[in-house]
């Protein structure tokens, strides 16, 4: 697949944000992206025209019931069949922040045995509680399975902003060790919170901004084609989006978020 043949659908509903930044990030890299309201996508029945589906950040449907829950169940009810075909064909799904919450609530992540009928994990209320908006360091943990991080060497530390109240990744208490082992076995763990030297947060706030289990920032499905993360790569795409750009003498032209977009584009151009 040539770069110009890739088509990206950035989904939108009431309460999504950074959809415009996500669209622009793709377009900066020469990939056609469009923002589509979920009702429009249902009406057109056009999901399978896209190679990438993005659930952006925000507070869809006011975060009512649980963050991401309503959007997840709506998608399954209205687009369940098409979504399953999309996943079976190994097309790419990216969930950023609220989008990650949607993927977990929809049973797409961690997806140990494919799409699960009920959530196998949760993004629970932050600990310490409250909305947390800050730049964090994250360390790349994946051994090559994840289609969204192919251009990032294992162990590389990236910097991106988080902005959420419900980002504490957890498994059911009685199964958390077993599920963590599965994540490692299947190469599904993608990023963990760390400090700027790469030391893991070990749950310490604010290095781990939400109390996430095992400092988990981000995971992918066993095929590596569905990827969710709490930080916002589209808010760390350009140098001028970074918090210290006025204090640095020389900033690189791009932020670390660009690597995520570049990796998934490279994956698609090589694989299809």
């Amino acid at each position: 697949m040539k770069r110009e043949e890739i088509r990206v659908c950035v989904l939108r509903v009431g309460g999504t944000n950074c959809d415009a930044e996500t669209e622009r990030s793709f377009e900066e890299l020469g990939v056609k992206a469009e923002i589509v309201h979920v009702n429009e996508l249902v009406k057109r029945g056009s999901l399978l025209e896209y190679s990438v589906l993005v659930f952006p950040g925000g507070f869809s449907y006011g975060d009512y019931v649980r963050a991401g829950a309503i959007w997840a169940k709506l998608i399954l009810a209205k687009l369940g069949k098409e979504l399953k075909a999309f996943v079976d064909e190994n097309r790419l799904i990216l969930g950023i922040c609220n989008g990650f919450q949607v993927l977990v609530e929809a049973g797409l992540l961690p997806g140990f045995e494919g799409i699960s009928p009920y959530p196998e994990a949760a993004l629970a209320t932050n600990f310490p509680p409250g909305y947390n908006c800050r730049w964090v360091y994250i360390k790349h943990e994946n051994n090559g399975k994840c289609a969204f991080t192919g251009k990032i060497p294992k162990g590389k530390i990236l910097r991106m902003p988080v902005a959420h109240s419900e980002g504490r990744f957890i498994f059911a208490k009685e199964r958390d060790k077993q599920c963590l082992e599965k994540l490692y076995e299947n190469d599904q763990l993608v990023f963990r919170y760390c400090d700027k030297n790469g030391e893991y947060a070990e749950s310490r706030f604010p290095t781990n901004p939400n109390g996430s289990f095992h400092d988990i920032v981000s995971i992918c499905n066993p095929e590596g084609t569905i990827f969710g993360l709490m930080p916002h790569p589209e808010r760390a795409f350009h140098w001028w989006q970074q918090l210290d750009w006025t204090r640095q003498e020389r900033m690189p032209q791009y932020g670390d978020g660009k690597l995520i977009f570049e990796s998934l584009i490279e994956y698609l151009t090589k694989k299809f």
Binding site: V65, P128, P129, I170, K173
Partner: protein, 83 residues
């Protein structure tokens, strides 16, 4: 028939409850001898169903499909015929 469902969704024991802990902290600051606070959510639902049995089945389904995440939530359902 119309049934009134009260569905309470609460955290499973062992899961931390940051909202409850923060609330407990403030209640202590206000001078109350509070030991613990747990926060839960109650959904009051009016449902059309043929029988109480059907109302119960539907309520269970609602919890599994949307209202509770089995990773961390318990739920309890109380059903009454609506007067």
């Amino acid at each position: 028939m119309k049934y009134q469902l009260k569905i309470e969704v609460s955290l499973k024991p062992g899961h931390s409850d940051p909202e409850g802990e923060t609330t407990a902290h403030l209640l202590k600051e206000l001078g109350y001898k509070v030991e613990k606070v747990n926060v839960s959510k109650i959904y009051s639902v009016v449902l059309d169903a043929e029988s109480e049995k059907e109302a119960e089945t539907k309520a269970e389904e609602m919890c599994r499909r949307l209202l509770a995440n089995p990773t961390k939530d318990n739920y309890a359902i109380v059903i009454e015929e609506e007067k």
